[in-house]
């Protein structure tokens, strides 16, 4: 019962951050700011959802479900390592080929 509530709260928080990340992609003005919204909100959201699933999975406690939950937590850990690496690589590549960043001075009269 308590596990259910905890996992529902975690997954809903994760979905909220996914929604915010998507909204950020739509609203931000240029490539770099969009990468920010896509890369970061999603890494937190994905981890929250994964932890929520891991907690839900512990509902009927046995060795098998504990092992599955540990595997899900490993997925979360690898998301945490790979997501910033990908964000960094995409931003660096965009800067190398000369995508111009949006700046405040240029765009406000």
């Amino acid at each position: 019962m308590i596990l259910n509530i905890v996992s529902i709260v975690l997954i809903c928080a994760g979905l909220f951050f996914f929604a915010v990340g998507t909204l950020g992609i739509l609203r931000f003005p240029d490539f770099y700011t969009r990468v920010q919204a896509a890369g970061k909100c999603d890494s937190l959201a994905a981890v929250l959802v994964l932890v929520g699933i891991a907690v839900y999975n512990l509902g009927d406690l046995s060795l098998a479900t504990v092992l599955v939950s540990i595997k899900i937590l490993f997925i979360a850990a690898f998301v945490f390592i790979s997501s910033p690496t990908a964000t960094h690589a995409i931003t660096d590549a965009a800067l190398l080929i000369g995508v111009k960043p949006w700046t405040k001075e240029k765009n406000t009269p």
Partner: protein, 160 residues
């Protein structure tokens, strides 16, 4: 020494991942972990054996703080994204700043942590200079000499 520790870590990982405890699967695990430990132990552990445990526990104590920071700064970005006059709040800029961290692993940890906290992305590291893209001016100013850098120094370089 490095090979033995690598083997133990790899085998623990194997047991958790496979979830099978019969002789057939465990012997497969032993063979493949021995091969990995023999050929690539220098990837996981290098340098002075005394620094391994400190690095591990340093990271372990650093992670909860990092997760808290990620949560806080995610809420700030959420506020910016949902604000009706969003374009007035953001002021994107590229900033360079020097880090005092010495070991490559701690520089990478700093770069990854900066990228993980929303509002800032590490674009490049050259020697001891980081190129960071920040979403707001306050985010750019809070980088140099930050608490994050001090904590990584304490966790991975034995304090200063």
């Amino acid at each position: 020494m490095a090979k033995v520790v690598t083997f133990l870590v790899m085998f623990a990982f194997w047991v958790v991942m496979s979830g099978m405890f019969d002789a057939f699967h465990l012997s497969f695990g032993v063979v493949s972990c021995l091969l990995i430990a023999h050929f690539s132990h220098s990837l996981l552990l290098y340098g002075d054996p005394k620094s391994w445990g400190r690095g591990f526990f340093g990271i372990l104590f650093y992670l909860p703080w990092l997760f808290w920071e990620i949560l806080i700064s995610n809420l700030q970005v959420t506020y910016i994204v949902l604000h009706p006059r969003m374009l007035d709040l953001i002021d994107p800029q590229l900033v360079r700043f020097k880090t005092s961290l010495k070991r490559p692993i701690s520089k990478v940890t700093l770069a990854q942590s900066i990228t993980l906290t929303p509002g800032t992305v590490t674009v490049d590291i050259e020697e001891d200079e980081l190129l960071v893209y920040a979403l707001t001016a306050s985010g750019a100013q809070s980088l140099a000499g930050s608490a994050m850098e001090r904590r990584i120094a304490a966790a991975l370089e034995g304090g200063k």
